[in-house]
Symmetry: C2
Subunit: 212 residues, 2 copies
DNA sequence: CACAGGTTACTTACCGGACGGTAACCTCCT
DNA sequence: AGGAGGTTACCGTCCGGTAAGTAACCTGTG
């Protein structure tokens, strides 16, 4: 019933040990996915048995949730003053993130695999990704509104589509890049696509595509 | 040893039975992913035991490969004359596909889940998706080259980035749409993003993003 | 046309392995 | 003393795959 609440002192090394486990879990869930990645494989990486992991996290589901929150924390941590930028600065931040991601395939893979896996039935990470995307879309949309306001533009529908598209293109490029890093330049392509979408929001142009 | 090679006639109903199984497999792999989706669950949908499925397809891996090829066949089948369009027509086709996909969540989910799952270690679908993306990027790039040539533009790097981005945004939007269909309009957002990227290729513009 | 023989299309039964989770136990640290 | 941080052992479940058996079906032969 109790989860360590009002329990006695945890040892000082425990915090580091848990973080070690979380890193191993990122590696394993990234390499195998959640369902195929086993607690035993994670445990091996930190020199433990799988029962030891369960002692720390209670269940595999709980470990997954902590992994996801752990990564979110790390992402926010590298923001100056933990402040989410607005306007054009947000898009510059997204481009910087893409360049950063191009050098940490392991973490990228974990999020790619888990986010897609989360759309399956009753997946424990589903609620996490649902609210994560909702939040991110909201922030991108807010940045768009700031930029549009500065230029006297107002197209809410366009902004919503663009916000989803920005996140979508970053994710989709990650999949292609992970499948064949030589064929896709994650950073450059992300930058190009983000600029293309931002440009279309700020000064939409008719296209030679027409209706079919 | 022999796999029906030069064996006697298969029964006429067998073809339909196999297609039934493939459809059930799409549903199950979409709903659960490849690793968590079991042969028993597929078998239940067609009123069989899991051993019956193995009789038809040999192994779970082989079934997966047939599922992927089966879907590819269906996609090509709805192209007029089985001819891959070039130039602007290809982009119109992609937009139409997005509108079509918005009404068949099951199939979309199967491809989203399987493509992301395929980036994991030793996944049986990895080679399939690797070559699939390479082919699709090539076709989109070809369409871009046709359009650029018509307008006297020549930027191979841009075209490669744009081709990957087009596919990426379509895939990424599918993930968000599956997680929350009410929050994302798959068809409209795909159309918007495709137009934005095509526009940026045909008449690139400097942006207010600058360097960070 | 009848009737074998062989093949197809399954089922039932079983195997070996992997998995998450639990319980009991030990042993340090505080 | 007693909890924190493990280990070992075990359980029940589920999975893909195989082997053996069976009924239905097709086909070549007389």
């Amino acid at each position: 019933m109790e989860t360590g609440r009002s329990g006695r002192a945890p040892r000082p090394q425990t915090r580091a040990r848990r973080e070690e486990i979380l890193k191993a879990a990122v590696a394993t869930f990234g390499a195998k996915g959640y369902h195929k990645g086993s607690l035993t494989e994670i445990a091996d990486q930190v020199g433990m048995t799988h029962a030891g992991i369960l002692h720390h996290f209670g269940s595999k589901d709980a470990l997954l949730m902590e992994v996801l929150e752990y990564r979110d924390r790390s992402d926010v941590a590298d923001l100056p003053d933990h402040h989410i930028p607005g306007g054009a600065e947000l898009f510059r931040h997204l481009v910087r993130t893409a360049f950063l991601n191009a050098q940490r395939a392991g973490i990228v893979q974990a999020f790619v695999v888990l986010s897609a896996e989360s759309v399956t039935d009753d997946h424990p990470a589903r609620a996490f990704f649902e609210s994560r995307y909702a939040t991110l879309r909201g922030e991108v949309a807010r940045a768009f509104r700031v930029m549009c306001q500065e230029q006297g533009i107002n197209e809410p529908d366009t902004i919503d589509k663009a916000a989803a598209s920005i996140l979508a293109v970053m994710d989709g490029l990650q999949v292609q890049w992970l499948l064949d890093p030589a064929a896709v330049d994650l950073a450059e392509a992300s930058e190009f696509a983000i600029e293309a979408i931002v440009a279309q929001v700020l000064s939409p142009r008719e296209l030679p595509l027409g209706r079919a």
